[in-house]
C-alpha cells in the first residue's frame, strides 16, 4: 500500500515502563533516541541543521553548533548546553521552541540528564543477536498461530506475515514497530498482567526468556529472513456494492420502459399478476406529491382527467413535464437531501444556538434540484465549493450538530476531543449521503463488517481537516448584488478616507468591531490603552493598510501581554489573536479591579512590521453567527464595539511610545466628525448590503492527521495522508503537505469518477426510495454487509449506469422512474398477492404510504388556500427567542407568518414543535437515512386539537362559502375537492351535511384534515 506512514514514537506514555523494565540504567536506543526523534530532529537532523547542529550525529553533539559550546559533555551536566537549553528559565530560550514540538516532559528531561550523567553512551545499531527462524518463529508457531496464523486470523492479525504485524489488527495500531520496543501492541500485550488484555490469552503467559527474545528481536529491527521486502496484498472485497457496475442488456420491448422490463422478470417468475393502471385522479395526486410535495389543485385534476381520457400518454407526459418544471420540485427533493445529512439551523448540544445564515445552503440545494445540476457537480460543489465559486454549497460539510468550542470547557484534552467529534460529524455526513458507507463505525477500530479500516477513517478525516464549524464570508459571483454593493461602498470609503490626509488618524465603527486607522508606521510593538472599568475584548487584528485583509497579528511569534487578567479568567492573552469567533470575552477589566489604573494590551511582533490599522472587537460571534438570541434583559443580542479605547501607541525606533491614534472627538473639527459619521454610515450599509458571513464552514490550516488509537485523539499513532477508501483505490498521492482545497477536490473527483461503483448506486437508490417509498436497497445510507441486499440487483445497476451515461442528470433518471408502468399501477391490495409479496417489494402494486410531516402540513395550507408559496430566504420562526443556555420553546406554530411550505420552518435540533415531531419529523442529530413511520395517539391529538387545524378548518370553510355561495351541497363538494381532490359520494355528502348543519361548516374541514384518505398517498 502506498499510504505514507510515519511512525512517531510515543515516548511520553511508555517511559514508565522503560524505566521499570530493568535496573534503571539509561539505554540510548531505547530511551534517548526516541526523544531526539520526537522533539529535536525536525530542526537538528538530516533534513535541517539549524544553528549548524544535529542530534543524529554524535560528533555534532560533542562539538556543538555555531556557538561551539558542546551540547553534551559526557558526565558533566553543568557544561552540557543541551541540558541548559531544555531547562531554560525563559520560554524564548527553551528547547524545543514552542510550536515546534511539545515541551519535554519532566520524565524526559530526567532521562536526558541521567544519560549525560551516566556518560552519554552512544551506540549505533548493534549486530543482531536474535535469529528469527530458530528463536522467534517457534514462539509464534506454538503460542500465536492458533488464533493469528495461516488458518485463523482473529481481528485480522496473523503472526506468520511480517506485513500483518507491521500493520496490526482491527484496532489499527501496529503490532510491532521495528526498533521501538515502547510501541506496538505485541510487547504491551505479552507484558500485561491484565488477563483480558494479555496475550497469549490461552495458557500460561510467555516465559521471561520468550519475552526477552521477542523484545530484543523487535529492538534489533524485527529481522525476518525472506519477508523484509514483503508488500501487503492489495485490499479486496466481495461486498456486492463495491463491485464494478455492469449495465445489463435489457431486451428491447416495444412501448416498455427498460425499468419495467427488469421489474417484470421476478413478477413473471412468481406468477404475480400486477395491478392495472390507477385512475387518473389518483395518478395526478401521486405524481404531484412525489415530485413536488404539493397536492394538485381541483381545476388541474379535472383538466388532467379530461385530457387523460382523450390521450392518456400525452396527458401524463405533459403533467410530468409540468411537475419537473415547477420550482416546487426542487423544494421537495431538497427536503429529502437535507434529511439525509440531518441539516438543521441550530448547533445542537447545550447552547443549541441558531446558525445565522445557514439557510442559503438550503436554497442552494433547492436550486440545484430545480436547475438539474448534474449530481457529480453537486457533489464537487458541496465538498469543495470554494474551488468552484460555490462557497455556499459547503454548508453541506457542516450540516451536522456541533458543540461550539466555547462550550466544551477549558481542558485542552476536551477541546481536542470536541474537534474530532466535529470532524466525525462531517465524515458521517459524507459517508452516509454520498458513499453509502457507515464510516463512523471505523473511528475506533476497523469496520466490523465492511472493508473500511481505521486508517481509511482518519485518511478521510485528513481530507476534511481544513474545515471548522464556523461562519465565513463567501465569495459570490461578480455580478451578485452583494458584490456590486461591496465594490461600490468600498470605493466611497476610499474616497472618504483619503479626505483625512496622510497623517490623519480616525476610528470607524463597523457595528461589530472598531477599525482604528492611523498613519503607517514600522514597529515591533503596539499598545492599546483603555479607560478603566467594565471593558471586554475578543480579538485584535492588525493590518498594514486601511483596506488590507491580511491580519498580521496571526503571524507566528506574535506575543500578547496585558496589564492584568481578571482573577477568575482562564483564557490566555493569546486568545486575543486566535482568529476564533467562539472565544469571545477573552480579556476583561472590571470596574473596581485593584491595581492597574490604566488597562492596556500590548502586542509584540516577531520583527519590524508596518502597521496602519487595528480592528478591535468584543463578541463578533453575536454579530456573525447569532440570531434570535437575547440577553437577560430580553433584548436581542447584536454586534457591539469595544468600549473605553483611549489611544494606540507604537514603540518607535528611539524606544519611545508614540501615540498614533486617539479616540474620541475632542479637539477634532466638525469636518472631521462629519467625515467619521459618513464613514460609519457606509460601514452600516456595507454590513447590510455587502457579502455577509454564512454558515458554510471556515477554512483552517490542516494539521497532520494520525490514526487515533481506539478513537482517542489523545493517542495519535501512524500519520496518514488524505485519501478515499483504500479498497476503492482511494489513494490520490497526497500528503500532509497538500493544501486543504486540493484534498477535497481530489476526494470529490475520486467519488465521482465513473469507476467508483458506490456513488451512482447509492444516489439512484435514494431517488428510487422517494419515488416508490421503498429502496431497491432498504438501507439507503448503508450499502455494506450489515445493510440490506438489493431486491433487484440488475435494475439497480441499470439505473446507476444509465444515470452516469446521461450525465448524472437527476431529472432524467427520475423521469424514467415516474413514467414506468410500475409507478402508475393502482395501489389496491390483493389478498392473493399479499401472501406472496406482502409489502409489494416487487411492485405488483404501487405501495401506499403515509405522507411525511411536511407534505401533510403543506397540503392543509394548500387546501385552505392560505399557503404562501414564496421560494427561499430566511425561514419562519415558531419559537421564542432565547438566552444562550435556554431552550427553544414553541410560541406560535400556526399563525399567518407560518403559512409557508414547511421546508421553510426553521429546522432546530432537539425540539418538539408540538405538532409534527409526533409525525417522525427528525431530530436532525444522528444520521438517519430514512424516517421511521409511527402511528400514535399524540398525532391524533395534534391533528384534532392543534391551533393550526382549528384555524385552517375555518379558512377552508370560508373559502368554500365564498366560492360556492349559499348552497351547502356545493360548499361541501368544494371542501372535498380541495382536500381529497374528489367530489363526495352520496353517503359522504350526507355525513358532512349532517355535521355542517348540526354544527358548523368548519367542522367538516376539521373532519377532512383528519381522514386517513387525506393523510394517505396511494
Amino acid at each position: 500500500m502506498n499510504r505514507t506512514l510515519t511512525y512517531i514514537s510515543l515516548a511520553i506514555s511508555c517511559f514508565g515502563y522503560s524505566l521499570n523494565a530493568d535496573t534503571g540504567a539509561i539505554q540510548f536506543h531505547r530511551d534517548i533516541r526516541p526523544i531526539f526523534e520526537q522533539s529535536c530532529v525536525e530542526c537538528h537532523g538530516p533534513e535541517k541543521q539549524k544553528s549548524d547542529f544535529r542530534v543524529d550525529d554524535y560528533e555534532s553533539l560533542l562539538k556543538g553548533g555555531e556557538s561551539e559550546i558542546p551540547a553534551v559533555v559526557p558526565g558533566d551536566l553543568i557544561e552540557s548546553l543541551l541540558i541548559e537549553v531544555i531547562e531554560a528559565e525563559f520560554e524564548e530560550d527553551r528547547m524545543p521552541p514552542e510550536g515546534k514540538a511539545d515541551p519535554l516532559t519532566v520524565e524526559q528531561i530526567a532521562m536526558l540528564k541521567q544519560w549525560v550523567t551516566e556518560g552519554a553512551e552512544w551506540e549505533d545499531t548493534p549486530e543482531p543477536t536474535i535469529d528469527f527462524v530458530t528463536q522467534v518463529q517457534p514462539i509464534f508457531q506454538t503460542r500465536c498461530y492458533v488464533c493469528h496464523g495461516p488458518d485463523k486470523q482473529e481481528v485480522n492479525l496473523r503472526t506468520d506475515l511480517r506485513t500483518s504485524l507491521l500493520k496490526g489488527g482491527d484496532t489499527g495500531s501496529p503490532a510491532i514497530v521495528p526498533g521501538k520496543i515502547d510501541d506496538g501492541e505485541l510487547l504491551k500485550r505479552i507484558h500485561s498482567d491484565d488477563e483480558e488484555f494479555r496475550m497469549p490469552r490461552e495458557g500460561e503467559p510467555l516465559s521471561v526468556d520468550e519475552k526477552t527474545i521477542l523484545e530484543t528481536w523487535i529492538a534489533e529491527g524485527a529481522i525476518w529472513p525472506g519477508q523484509m521486502d514483503a508488500v501487503e496484498e492489495k485490499v479486496t472485497t466481495d461486498l456486492w456494492s463495491m463491485q464494478p457496475i455492469v449495465k445489463p442488456d435489457v431486451p428491447r420491448k416495444r412501448k416498455l420502459n427498460p425499468i419495467d422490463t427488469l421489474l417484470n422478470v421476478p413478477l413473471n417468475e412468481k406468477g404475480i399478476a400486477w395491478n392495472r393502471v390507477a385512475d387518473p385522479a389518483t395518478l395526478i395526486r401521486r405524481a404531484s406529491i412525489v415530485l413536488t410535495g404539493l397536492p394538485p389543485a381541483p381545476e388541474r385534476i379535472e383538466d388532467f382527467v379530461r385530457k387523460w381520457n382523450r390521450n392518456s400518454k400525452r396527458a401524463y407526459n405533459a403533467l410530468i413535464d409540468e411537475l419537473f418544471d415547477s420550482p416546487h420540485f426542487g423544494e421537495r427533493w431538497a427536503q429529502h437531501w437535507l434529511d439525509v445529512i440531518r441539516w438543521a439551523e441550530t448547533t445542537g448540544y447545550e447552547s443549541n444556538e441558531f446558525r445565522k445564515n445557514a439557510w442559503p445552503y438550503r436554497d442552494y440545494v433547492v436550486d440545484a434540484f430545480n436547475d438539474d445540476k448534474p449530481y457529480d457537480q453537486f457533489i464537487r460543489e458541496q465538498l469543495a465549493g470554494d474551488q468552484y465559486g460555490q462557497d455556499v454549497a459547503m454548508g453541506f460539510l457542516v450540516a451536522g450538530p456541533h458543540a461550539p468550542g466555547s462550550t466544551v470547557g477549558q481542558n485542552p484534552d476536551d477541546q481536542k476531543q470536541a474537534r474530532f467529534d466535529r470532524l466525525d460529524e462531517t465524515i458521517q455526513t459524507v459517508g452516509s449521503s454520498m458513499m453509502g458507507v457507515t464510516m463512523g463505525c471505523a473511528r475506533c477500530h476497523n469496520h466490523k463488517f465492511d472493508p473500511v479500516s481505521i486508517a481509511d477513517y482518519y485518511s478521510m478525516a485528513a481530507v476534511f481537516n481544513d474545515i471548522e464549524y464556523d461562519h465565513r464570508v463567501p465569495k459570490w459571483e461578480d455580478g451578485d448584488p452583494r458584490m456590486v454593493a461591496d465594490r461600490e461602498i468600498k470605493a466611497l470609503l476610499a474616497k472618504e478616507r483619503a479626505g483625512f490626509g496622510e497623517r490623519g488618524d480616525w476610528t470607524e465603527n463597523w457595528v461589530d468591531h472598531l477599525k482604528a486607522q492611523f498613519p503607517a508606521k514600522t514597529t515591533k510593538s503596539i499598545r492599546f490603552n483603555f479607560k478603566p472599568g467594565n471593558l471586554t475584548l475578543d480579538e485584535i487584528q492588525l493590518f498594514d493598510a486601511a483596506d488590507s485583509e491580511e491580519n498580521l497579528a496571526l503571524k507566528k511569534g506574535v506575543v500578547v501581554t496585558t496589564s492584568k487578567l481578571e482573577e477568575s479568567i482562564t483564557k490566555p492573552p493569546f486568545f486575543l489573536v486566535d482568529n476564533r469567533l467562539d472565544n469571545f470575552f477573552v480579556w476583561k477589566h472590571e470596574k473596581g479591579d485593584s491595581g492597574e489604573s490604566k488597562p492596556w494590551v500590548r502586542i509584540d511582533m516577531p520583527k519590524e512590521t508596518t502597521l496602519a490599522r487595528a480592528d478591535l472587537s468584543v463578541n463578533r460571534l453575536a454579530h456573525y453567527a447569532w440570531q434570535f438570541m437575547i440577553n437577560k434583559a430580553g433584548d436581542e443580542i447584536k454586534g457591539a464595539v469595544p468600549k473605553g479605547l483611549v489611544s494606540i501607541e507604537i514603540l518607535n525606533e528611539l524606544g519611545n511610545w508614540e501615540t498614533v491614534s486617539r479616540s474620541g472627538s475632542e479637539g477634532r473639527s466638525n469636518n472631521y466628525k462629519n467625515r467619521v459619521n459618513r464613514i460609519n454610515a457606509l460601514a452600516i450599509r456595507h454590513v447590510d448590503e455587502g457579502p455577509a458571513p454564512i454558515f458554510a464552514g471556515k477554512l483552517i490550516e490542516p494539521t497532520p492527521m494520525h490514526v487515533m488509537h481506539r478513537g482517542s485523539p489523545l493517542s495519535p499513532k501512524a500519520e496518514v495522508a488524505p485519501m478515499g477508501l483504500e479498497v476503492l483505490d482511494g489513494d490520490f498521492g497526497q500528503s500532509s503537505d497538500t493544501s486543504g482545497p486540493e484534498r477535497r477536490v481530489a476526494f470529490a473527483n475520486w467519488l465521482t469518477q465513473s469507476e467508483n461503483p458506490m456513488t451512482a448506486r447509492v444516489m439512484v437508490n435514494r431517488l428510487w426510495f422517494h419515488v416508490f417509498g421503498k429502496g431497491i436497497v432498504t438501507t439507503p445510507g448503508d450499502f455494506g454487509f450489515a445493510g440490506g441486499m438489493p431486491s433487484h440487483p440488475e435494475l439497480l445497476d441499470w439505473l446507476a449506469a444509465d444515470f452516469v451515461d446521461e450525465g448524472w442528470s437527476m431529472k432524467k433518471i427520475l423521469r424514467k422512474m415516474v413514467t414506468t408502468d410500475a409507478f402508475k399501477r393502482s395501489s389496491v391490495p390483493s389478498e392473493e398477492w399479499l401472501t406472496v409479496d406482502a409489502d409489494a417489494k416487487l411492485l405488483w402494486r404501487f405501495p401506499p404510504r403515509w405522507l411525511e410531516a411536511e407534505v401533510l402540513r403543506d397540503s392543509i395550507l394548500v387546501s385552505s388556500g392560505a399557503i404562501d408559496l414564496k421560494l427561499g430566504g430566511l425561514g419562519y420562526h415558531i419559537y421564542t427567542p432565547k438566552l444562550r443556555y435556554d431552550q427553544w420553546r414553541v410560541v406560535d406554530n400556526f399563525g399567518p407568518h407560518t403559512w409557508r411550505r414547511m421546508l421553510y420552518q426553521q429546522r432546530m435540533r432537539r425540539v418538539d414543535d408540538q405538532m409534527f415531531t409526533a409525525f417522525d419529523f427528525p431530530s436532525c442529530a444522528q444520521v438517519q437515512s430514512k424516517r421511521p413511520r409511527s402511528t400514535t395517539p399524540l398525532q391524533a391529538l395534534n391533528l384534532m386539537n392543534g391551533n393550526l387545524i382549528v384555524e385552517q378548518s375555518k379558512l377552508l370553510a370560508e373559502r368554500a362559502k365564498q366560492e360556492a355561495g349559499g348552497a351547502l351541497d356545493e360548499q361541501v363538494r368544494l371542501m372535498f375537492m380541495y382536500t381529497l381532490g374528489r367530489a363526495p359520494k352520496a353517503e359522504e355528502l350526507a355525513i358532512s351535511k349532517d355535521l355542517a348543519t348540526s354544527d358548523e361548516l368548519s367542522s367538516v374541514g376539521r373532519m377532512l384534515f383528519n381522514l386517513n384518505e387525506f393523510f394517505y398517498l396511494n
Binding site: N411, D414, R910, Q926, T935, L938, A940, E988
Partner: protein
C-alpha cells in the same frame, strides 16, 4: 393493570382493539401480512449474516402496528415492571450528600496529592471539607449529610452506587450519557428503549412521561426523553403538574359535544375508506389511534388533577410550601406517583433545569456559594422526593417499580479557584442510588477514593448502571437493539456489565 373497559369503546374501536376479532375479520392473510412486514425490517436478516455470536443475537420486540404500546414480554422474568427515574440536573455534590469522606475534614485547606491544576472551569483550589455535617441514619447507621434529612431517614431502603464515573464533564453531554448511553445528540433515551421493548400496561396513558422541573427543561432538553432514531411512538411525552400535554384539550371554541360529532363523522368516513383497502393494517392502526387519543383526553386530565389529593398528602409532599419552586416540584412528585400507580411504564422526574436562570439557582451546578445554592436546591428536592419514596413504599408500588435517583456527575473535593466558594465538575466519581423491585436494600456498591475524587473500588460506568437498570426490568442490554445506519444500536453501545452484586 386492567385492560380498557370494552363497554366504553365504540363498536368500531372495539373491533380494532380486540386482536383476535381483528385478525379473524380481516382474514388470515392479515396475520401473515403484518408478520412478513416485521420480519422484513431493515437489516434484521443482515445482522444475523454479519456474524453476531449466537447467544447475543438482537431481540427485536414484535410491534403490532395497530397498537405499538401493547404490553410485551421482557426477555426474562423480573420483578420490576415499571421505572421511575429521579434526575437531579446540574450535578449533585456526592461528598456533601451521600458519600461520607472523613479525610476531607482532616485535609481541609490543603492540596490533595495528584490534584489537577485545571479542571472544567479553571484552576483548582484547596480541599474543602463537606459543607454540612454528617450523622448516622437508619438502622444501618449510614452516614448521611444533614443537607438531606428527609431522604437520609430512608437510607435503609437504598442501594447506593458510590463509584459511578462519567465519560464527560460537561453537563449536556453527561446528561446525554446518563439518559441515552452516548454523549452525542440524538440517541434514544432509556425510557424510549424500555417502552419500545415492553410497551405499556395502561393504554389510556402515554407509555413514557418526562416531567420537567418547574423552572424548565434540563440542559439537554429533549435528548433526555427523545426517541432518537426509534419510531416517534416511543418518545417521552413531556408534561408536568403545571404544564399540560400539548393539544390534549379540545379547543374551547369547539367544546366536547361538537367534538364528538366530528369524531363520529371521522370514524364513519374512515370505515368507508378502509373498505377500499381491505387488510391494510396501517389504516386500521390509525383508526385505532383516534380511539386511544379520545381515551387519553379523558384520562390525562384526571391524572394531572393533583388538587383532588387529600390535604395530608399535599402536606407530606410539601405541596403546601410557601416556597413556590418546592410546592411545584412536590406536585410533580405526586404526579409521578399517580402515574406509576396507573401503570405508566417509565416516568422521568427532573429536579433542576438548564442554566438560563443561573448556575446553582436553577439547578445543582454550584460552582460558587455551594453552601447557599446546594442548600436552596436541597430545600426544594429533599422533602418532596422523600415523601414520594415513602408514599410509594406504603402503597406497595416498590414491589414492581424500580426507582433510580441520579445526577450526571459529581463535584470536586477541592474548591474551584483558590478563593472559591463552590466545587467544579467531577466526572471521576459520583453517587446515585436505586430502590425498589429487584435491588438490595441498605446496600452500597463501590467506593470512591479517600477524597471522593475518583472511584477506588468496584467502579461503575454509566454503561454498567444502565445495563443494570435494563436487567432489573428483565431486559438483556446486549440484545435489546434497533438497526440504524449500519449498526444494531443499543442503549449501552458495545459496553456495560450488569452489576450483579446489587441484585436481590
Amino acid at each position: 393493570m386492567k385492560n380498557p373497559d370494552p363497554v366504553k369503546l365504540s363498536a368500531f374501536g372495539q373491533q380494532f382493539l380486540d386482536r383476535r376479532k381483528f385478525l379473524k375479520d380481516t382474514a388470515s392473510v392479515m396475520g401473515s401480512f403484518s408478520l412478513m412486514s416485521l420480519l422484513q425490517n431493515d437489516g434484521l436478516l443482515a445482522s444475523e449474516v454479519a456474524g453476531q455470536s449466537s447467544d447475543k443475537t438482537p431481540i427485536r420486540p414484535i410491534i403490532d402496528p395497530k397498537n405499538p404500546y401493547a404490553p410485551r414480554d421482557p426477555h426474562f422474568d423480573a420483578s420490576a415492571k415499571k421505572l421511575l427515574i429521579i434526575f437531579c440536573a446540574g450535578a449533585v455534590s456526592h461528598i456533601d450528600t451521600f458519600d461520607y469522606k472523613p479525610e476531607l475534614f482532616k485535609y481541609h485547606g490543603m492540596r490533595a496529592p495528584g490534584q489537577p491544576a485545571v479542571t472544567f472551569e479553571g484552576p483548582s483550589g484547596n480541599i474543602h471539607k463537606p459543607f454540612w455535617d454528617f450523622s448516622p441514619q437508619g438502622e444501618t447507621g449510614k452516614m448521611i449529610s444533614n443537607l438531606l434529612p428527609n431522604l437520609g431517614s430512608m437510607v435503609d431502603d437504598y442501594c447506593f452506587f458510590h463509584a459511578l464515573h462519567s465519560g464527560t464533564s460537561a453537563h449536556p453531554t453527561a446528561e446525554n450519557f446518563m439518559s441515552t448511553g452516548f454523549t452525542f445528540e440524538g440517541f434514544p433515551s432509556i425510557g424510549s428503549w424500555v417502552s419500545y421493548a415492553l410497551g405499556t400496561e395502561n393504554q389510556e396513558l402515554p407509555a413514557y412521561v418526562a416531567i420537567n422541573d418547574p423552572r424548565g427543561m434540563p440542559r439537554s432538553a429533549k435528548n433526555n426523553w427523545g426517541n432518537g432514531f426509534l419510531p416517534a411512538s416511543f418518545q417521552g411525552t413531556n408534561f408536568s403538574a403545571a404544564e399540560p400535554v400539548p393539544n390534549i384539550a379540545t379547543p374551547d371554541s369547539i367544546g366536547s359535544s361538537r367534538n364528538k360529532k366530528t369524531i363520529d363523522a371521522i370514524e364513519r368516513m374512515n370505515a368507508k375508506h378502509l373498505d377500499q383497502f381491505p387488510g391494510d393494517t396501517e389504516l386500521a392502526a390509525r383508526i385505532a389511534s383516534y380511539e386511544l387519543a379520545g381515551r387519553m383526553q379523558m384520562s390525562i386530565p384526571e391524572l394531572t388533577d393533583i388538587d383532588g389529593e387529600p390535604d395530608y398528602v399535599l402536606k407530606e409532599y410539601g405541596a403546601d410550601s410557601s416556597n413556590e419552586l418546592k410546592s411545584a416540584y412536590a406536585k410533580n412528585c405526586i404526579l409521578a406517583r399517580r402515574m406509576i400507580e396507573k401503570g405508566v411504564r417509565c416516568v422521568q422526574l427532573f429536579n433542576g433545569s438548564d442554566a438560563s436562570g443561573g448556575n446553582g439557582v436553577t439547578n445543582w451546578d454550584s460552582h460558587s456559594k455551594i453552601h447557599e445554592t446546594h442548600g436552596m436546591q436541597a430545600d426544594i428536592m429533599d422533602q418532596p422526593t422523600a415523601a414520594l419514596l415513602a408514599d410509594m413504599k406504603r402503597r406497595g408500588l416498590l414491589a414492581d417499580t424500580l426507582v433510580v435517583w441520579c445526577t450526571e456527575f459529581g463535584r470536586m473535593p477541592f474548591l474551584q479557584a483558590s478563593n472559591g466558594s463552590g466545587r467544579d465538575h467531577n466526572a471521576g466519581a459520583f453517587t446515585s442510588f436505586m430502590m425498589g423491585a429487584g435491588v438490595k436494600k441498605g446496600y452500597a456498591h463501590g467506593e470512591s477514593d479517600e477524597f471522593g475524587y475518583k472511584g477506588a473500588k468496584d467502579k461503575t460506568s454509566v454503561y454498567d448502571f444502565n445495563a443494570t437498570i435494563l436487567h432489573l426490568l428483565g431486559l438483556d442490554h446486549e440484545r435489546l437493539s434497533f438497526y440504524n445506519n449500519g449498526l444494531e444500536r443499543r442503549l449501552t453501545n458495545v459496553h456495560g456489565h450488569v452489576v450483579k452484586e446489587v441484585l436481590v
